[in-house]
């Protein structure tokens, strides 16, 4: 689960990480009064959406007067912000973060991830602040410093000193750097984060280290023990169909093709998409119905896939393990009977009770195309879609 920048900053503030003075505003007048409260003569207005790349997309701007803060907020709030991380319709900006602006002396990158090679939390730092760390790693890998954390003892001060020394956070700034890294790590560990970034971490006037931008991603599987984090979820930032699907126990991800996919198991779902792509088709979605695929689940899966107007055919691929094909077949019959299926459907069944499954489908009199193998199923759905389109 992702949260907004202003939420991440409030969280980090609770861990004594210094963030700029600022508040979130939903209206233009509120944005103005926030700027007045902060004081000073220069502010930053930042559109709050979950996607990155906001600066280049015009979602982060400097203001030299209260009027300008209001003008920029007026432009941003209610607009749709397009960045390289959004689709071309962008995200609706519903709020802006108004903050004090700083004169920056030096910028750094600070990140925490779960490193999949070491299988441990890893601190990542770089003297190339404000840049995409993937890009820094590609262009100048020597500038990316990594320090692996032993979960039994946590992030140690000597490790932070090592990192500080290597990114040039030295002299009188080293102690502040060490403290900040330890606080950042504690927040990451306490809240079951998967990814956290302070980018840039800036050395500003008055020798202060300030987290100018920050983002965090949390482990969905650990939210049960973090009601405070769960409360920060912004459903408007998520795909409404994906939310609806997850409410039915389905894992759905929209893609841009025209072959709707309904599959059990994440690996088989990916392999089914791959097979479609391999035969020249384009999958419209990833959909995993999971282990206990009840008739209701199958029916909901059909409905959700068919809500996508670009879907021209459906490939249903079930390899029954703990499921049984006869049970799945009943689900298909119920789904197709209860809703109008406007596109051809290819059904591939395999595994437990497969023969009974086919008998149920044949006796139901439903219109569907039978396939027994993954490969033929993928070929058939592409063929029928192509025939129809000609």
């Amino acid at each position: 689960m992702n949260i907004h920048e202003y939420q991440t900053k409030e969280l980090l503030k609770n861990y004594d990480v210094t963030v700029p003075a600022g508040r979130v505003a939903h209206t233009i007048s509120h944005a103005g009064s926030v700027a007045e409260d902060i004081g000073g003569s220069r502010w930053v207005v930042k559109a709050q959406i979950h996607a990155g790349g906001r600066g280049k997309g015009g979602g982060i701007k400097l203001a030299d007067s209260i009027e300008e803060v209001q003008k920029l907020s007026d432009q941003m709030i209610g607009s749709r912000l397009v960045t390289h991380q959004t689709d071309n319709t962008g995200h609706l900006v519903q709020r802006v973060l108004v903050e004090q602006a700083f004169n920056i002396e030096k910028e750094f990158y600070l990140g925490l991830i779960i490193n999949r090679s070491s299988q441990r939390i890893t601190l990542i730092a770089s003297s190339s602040g404000g840049m995409d760390i993937e890009e820094v790693a590609r262009e100048t890998p020597e500038k990316v410093i990594k320090e692996i954390v032993d979960p039994a003892v946590g992030l140690h001060e000597f490790q932070c000193r090592k990192v500080c020394a290597r990114i040039g956070l030295v002299d009188k700034h080293m102690q502040a750097g060490v403290k900040l890294m330890k606080r950042f790590y504690r927040c990451f560990r306490d809240k079951d984060a998967l990814l956290a970034e302070i980018n840039p971490l800036a050395l500003v006037e008055g020798d202060r280290l300030v987290a100018l931008d920050a983002k965090m991603t949390f482990d969905d599987n650990a939210l049960f023990r973090h009601p405070d984090i769960t409360d920060l979820r912004d459903f408007d930032e998520e795909d409404s169909k994906e939310i609806e699907a997850s409410g039915h126990g389905l894992n759905y991800i929209a893609l841009d093709g025209n072959v709707g996919c309904i599959v059990n198991g994440a690996g088989l779902a990916m392999a089914t998409m791959d097979s479609i792509a391999l035969h020249g088709g384009r999958p419209a979605n990833f959909l995993d119905v999971g282990g206990g695929a009840s008739p209701e689940k199958i029916a909901n899966a059909f409905r959700i896939v068919l809500e996508d107007p670009s879907v021209k055919g459906i490939l249903l691929n079930i390899f029954a393990g703990i499921n049984r094909c006869d049970w799945i077949a009943n689900g298909i019959v119920q789904a197709i009977r209860d809703q109008e299926i406007r596109v051809p459907v290819v059904v591939r069944l395999a595994g437990t009770n497969v023969e009974q499954g086919w008998v149920i489908l044949e006796e139901s009199g439903l219109e569907y195309i039978k396939a027994t193998k993954l490969d033929t199923a993928a070929k058939k759905i592409i063929e029928v879609i192509n025939e129809k389109e000609q």
Binding site: Q85, P151, A266
Partner: protein, 302 residues
């Protein structure tokens, strides 16, 4: 012979009296697996499915001398159950649960250091040595005793590959699901190493997916440490970056995470990479016949 579990394995179920554990314990017993009892804290001293129930793993180990544990407890409590099993000095721990917090697994892996246990999973259908021992939730009828080792991150894709093999009369020595989580109990290398040492395994099918370095790490390791051929597939060539494809670990977060990059690298390192998931069985057949015609290992491109 087989790897990790076989006809002499004694299996304990943690979370024994739950609905899923009961169902799968019964299925395993029907197939000939030696289930020796289970643990449900608070229900020690009773019997379930005609087998003894213990309060703790310590007691279960003392009474039964089990060597394999099947953990069926819910994700929130799974890390504690795994550590209890490690502490009790069990050899093989199979964790079915899907949804264990990642940082819990990070701590479990730290706790494992200095212990001999091998953790299979989490988020796995489990492990099966066909005809001998099944610890998990897979449909045992699709498997057949034989000489192909199978190791995969995905469950249903494992079934798909196994069915393609069984259809061609190519049985399996053991099939291991290492699970779809970003931090798993054991990696491909641990399983490949066991297959390399198993005299009954002639070749290995390795099924990976997008996200993480472990497929390429395995290929690098295998290049110098494996004499047996490895047929491999990586799912997710059509998956978009930045999206978690069902499995917590199936996420393209960098260039090296894509299926394309992984498969190219694995091929360079000498694995028989299958590009079409429907061709796994056929490729195994080809590789085996090449193996028979020439007793020495040689590089073949598929």
């Amino acid at each position: 012979m087989s790897v990790f579990v076989g006809k002499n394995s004694k299996v304990i179920f943690q979370g024994f009296t739950g609905q899923h554990a009961s169902f799968h314990a019964e299925e395993a017993i029907k197939g000939g697996t030696k289930v020796v009892g289970g643990v449900t804290p608070g229900k020690g001293g009773s019997t379930h499915l005609g087998l003894p129930v213990f309060h703790t793993m310590e007691a279960a180990m003392q009474e039964t001398g089990a060597d394999v544990s099947a953990i069926f407890v819910p994700p929130a409590f799974a890390a504690d159950a795994i550590m209890e099993a490690i502490d009790a000095h069990i050899k093989i721990i199979v964790v079915i649960a899907d949804g264990i917090p990642v940082q819990d697994m990070v701590r479990v892996k730290r706790y494992l250091i200095g212990h001999e246990a091998i953790i299979i999973g989490p988020n796995t259908p489990g492990i099966i040595t066909p005809g001998e021992c099944k610890v998990g939730i897979m449909p045992s009828h699709i498997y057949k005793p034989g000489h192909i080792g199978v190791v995969s991150r995905s469950g249903t894709l494992n079934y798909e590959a196994v069915e393609q093999m069984t259809e061609r009369d190519l049985g399996q020595s053991t099939s291991v699901g290492i699970g779809g989580d970003p931090v798993n109990g054991c990696d491909f290398i641990t399983v490949l190493n066991a297959f390399e040492k198993d005299p009954e395994t002639d070749a290995v099918v390795m099924i990976g997916e997008i996200g993480g370095p472990q497929e390429v790490d395995a290929a690098l390791w295998a290049q110098t440490n494996m004499s047996k051929p490895i047929i491999s597939f990586v799912a997710g060539i059509s998956a978009p970056p930045g999206r978690r494809m069902g499995h917590a670990g199936a996420l393209i977060s960098g260039d090296a995470d894509t299926a394309e990059v992984k498969m190219n690298r694995m091929e360079e390192l000498g694995m028989h990479v299958v590009r079409n998931p429907a061709d796994i069985g056929e490729t195994v057949e080809q590789v085996l016949s090449q193996l028979k015609s020439k007793s020495t290992k040689q590089a073949v491109t598929v």
